[in-house]
């Protein structure tokens, strides 16, 4: 029986999505999960634009966008995945210097992380040569940018072949951190953003891998070409490159690009 | 002599009886729902009563004070019901043999042969239950219940699902076998014709035994 309350509720449910402005849908790489939420809150305060982020591995998000996922902007953890979308004609960097090159909004930092109670020698590159290191967690080098950087580092140090049997490969960088944080792996090559999260900064300590050991982990953004909110996307990209946000990136483990 | 004192709940049903079955043939007679079947299940050890003492020939089968309740297979009692409940995946022979485990092979074969002949099931011993008529199945069930030579056989409406003629045949068989094997029979029925087989009759209604004087069965409280 349709009571007035039910009718009102129905009207509310049916009309509510129309009343509110469609939010900006952000496809964000998993390493942004500890970083991005407060930035999006600040963005809404400044501009009145509500943005909602979905955090997945960059590869998963790329597949989703290729198959029509309704995202407006893609913040990848590398340049390869967004470039792939540009080449497929699904995304662009219109408005920047070169519309076919993803917009680099930050750089990632690779660290060697271990629990404080791990009884390992002190954290340094020498630890990677220590026999006490029985299990080293890395992210999947085939698709995770930090995994690629980890392998590049080990290869540069000529340790990759020796360490390979002791590597455990995680699906993504967050899981690599879990392997090490749960002490199933003795240490992990993970992102600085993960190492600076409250949980991991209490449990462990980290050593920043020298930047000359791996190619830069450039994080690129692209506009999903099918978006209907191009203006709002540009506002968000400008906001991410603003000095305030770049400073915020620095404090949460990303290296500013400006 | 099977003597008992029971105080049991089964669902909403409350049974409180005390008594003894001494005669070779006792019929427990009463309307359906009176608690007759419950009484037999408790005596046979299929259900565990809250407060009970059951003694068979001086040996305690159930003594809730001592936390004793022998499993149904260790009481020297057996039970046949309205439904023969033969194992559908086993032949009639294998059904009867199921209860015979302790004997050596030769003695087993002898005893099986004997029992099957007694119930006249030799001709269809190799068949499976679904290939037997109702009367045949009940005869196999009878053989199965008696093969291990129990002291007491409980029979719960054993002819309830059979036509009159077949029922009479099964009853005659039961009487004959019990006599042959020296087994005490406690039979539950609401059928006056079946009750007529009794040497002693016990009336049960609403969980109470009604005629204690004639049966040595007394109501507690």
């Amino acid at each position: 029986m349709p009571s007035p309350i039910a009718a009102a509720l129905f009207a509310f449910l049916a009309l509510a999505p129309l009343a509110a402005q469609t939010p900006l849908r952000v496809a964000a790489a998993a390493d942004l999960e500890p970083v991005l939420p407060p930035i999006l809150v600040q963005f809404e305060k400044n501009t009145g634009i509500h943005a909602e982020a979905t955090y997945q591995s960059s590869a998963t998000l790329t597949t989703q966008i290729e198959n029509g996922a309704p995202f407006d902007v893609f913040l990848s953890a590398d340049l390869g995945f967004p470039k792939r979308l540009i080449d497929a004609g699904l995304a662009d960097a219109a408005g920047s210097a070169d519309s076919t090159t993803p917009i680099t909004y930050a750089r990632g930092t690779l660290v060697l992380w271990a629990r404080k109670d791990s009884h390992l020698p002190s954290l340094s590159l020498d630890l990677l040569r220590s026999p006490a290191l029985k299990r080293l967690a890395i992210a999947n080098p085939d698709r995770a940018p930090y995994g690629r950087a980890a392998v590049a580092t080990l290869q540069k140090l000529k340790l990759y072949d020796a360490l390979q049997p002791r590597l455990v490969t995680a699906e993504n960088i967050a899981q690599a951190a879990q392997f090490a944080d749960s002490a199933n792996a003795d240490a992990g090559l993970i992102s600085l953003t993960s190492a600076l999260t409250p949980q991991l900064s209490v449990d462990g300590s980290y050593f920043v891998i020298p930047r000359d050991l791996y190619p830069p982990i450039e994080q690129g953004a692209v506009i999903v070409s099918s978006t209907g909110q191009r203006a709002a996307v540009h506002k968000l990209l400008d906001f991410l490159l603003s000095p305030a946000v770049q400073a915020e990136f620095a404090s949460s483990g990303l290296t500013p690009v400006k | 002599m099977l003597s008992f004192s029971l105080n049991a709940h089964r669902g909403a049903f409350h049974l409180q009886v005390e008594g003894a079955f001494a005669a070779d043939w006792t019929v427990v007679f009463g309307p359906s729902g009176a608690g007759k079947s419950t009484l037999l299940r408790l005596l046979a050890g299929l259900d565990n009563p809250r407060h009970a003492s059951i003694v068979l020939d001086g040996r305690a089968l159930t003594d809730s004070a001592a936390r004793l309740c022998l499993p149904p297979g260790h009481r020297q009692t057996s039970l046949v019901s309205q439904q023969p409940a033969l194992f559908p995946h086993l032949t009639a022979l294998a059904n009867v043999a199921y209860g015979l485990r302790s004997l050596d092979r030769a003695a087993r074969a002898r005893r099986l042969d004997e029992v099957l002949q007694l119930v006249g099931a030799t001709g269809f011993a190799g068949r499976r239950p679904q290939e037997l008529s109702g009367g045949q199945a009940q005869r196999v069930a009878l053989a199965r219940a008696l093969v291990a030579q129990p002291r007491v056989l409980f029979a719960d409406e054993p002819t309830g699902s059979l036509d009159t003629l077949t029922g009479e045949m099964v009853m005659d068989l039961l009487v004959g076998m019990a006599r042959e094997e020296g087994t005490t029979v406690v039979l539950v029925t609401h059928d006056a014709r079946v009750a007529a087989y009794a040497e002693r009759e016990v009336m049960v209604r609403d969980g109470r035994v009604l005629n204690p004087a004639s049966s040595q069965v007394e109501v507690a409280q």
């Binding site: 299990r135 002490a183 | 995946h89």
Partner: protein, 224 residues
């Protein structure tokens, strides 16, 4: 085609199924034949792995089996290494993850056996072991089969727990489903298609073989 991963998946599924049967048959019999309210809790507990997202279950196991818990340290002392990132660890994870798929069909199958038959067997002196092996299992053999098939296939297709607990080590923890996922994530769709097709073909073949065998035998009693 990654035949090493293929063989590993088959081995994992076979070992897991064997262990699951050894656990699930007594457990299901206890749930069906036993008395007491605590059995409801046992059944609920045995069903619980279905509720948790597999990666979350894998994460809990990773922590539980890892060197940070007393239990995990016991395992390290016993084996010399943590269970995570080893085949043994995957077996433990798979057994827990697939437990409901072994227990549920067996509980349903055992419960559908006429209680009069259970009573009859008990009257004839059958203890729990004989009751289960000679009455419940033969009469609920389709359920037993279902439990085997479900456990096996569920383990073959298992992904979240392996992903979390495995560490993607070739020959030890890189199963076919992980390879398949890697292929999809690596945009290697052709290879992924081949792997998936093999997985499907294998499963259909196994299922058809098993179901046709039970059908043609025809001795499984219809009323059980």
């Amino acid at each position: 085609m990654d035949w090493q991963a293929f063989a590993l998946s088959l081995r994992l599924a076979a070992v897991t199924t064997a262990i699951l049967l050894a656990i699930a048959v007594p457990l299901a019999a206890l749930i069906v034949l036993g008395r007491g309210r605590w059995l409801a809790a046992v059944e609920a507990l045995a069903t619980l792995p279905m509720v948790l997202p597999p990666t979350v279950l894998g994460f809990f196991l990773l922590v539980l089996l890892g060197p940070r818990t007393a239990f995990g340290r016991g395992i390290v002392a016993l084996l010399g290494h943590p269970l995570a990132f080893s085949f043994d660890g995957l077996v433990v994870g798979s057994v827990i993850y697939s437990l409901p798929f072994a227990v549920q069909p067996l509980v349903a199958g055992f419960a559908s056996v006429d209680t009069a038959l259970v009573d009859a067997a008990r009257l004839l002196g059958a203890g729990p072991v004989r009751l289960v092996s000679t009455i419940l299992i033969p009469l609920a053999r389709r359920s037993l089969l279902a439990a085997v098939v479900m456990s096996f296939l569920h383990t073959i297709g298992e992904f979240g727990v392996v992903l979390m607990l495995g560490g993607d080590i070739p020959g030890a923890t890189r199963t076919l489903s992980i390879v398949l996922y890697d292929q999809v994530e690596g945009f290697n769709y052709a290879a992924a298609g081949h792997t998936a097709l093999l997985l499907l073909g294998l499963s259909i073949f196994a299922l058809a073989l098993i179901y046709s065998r039970t059908r043609s035998h025809g001795v499984a009693p219809r009323d059980a």
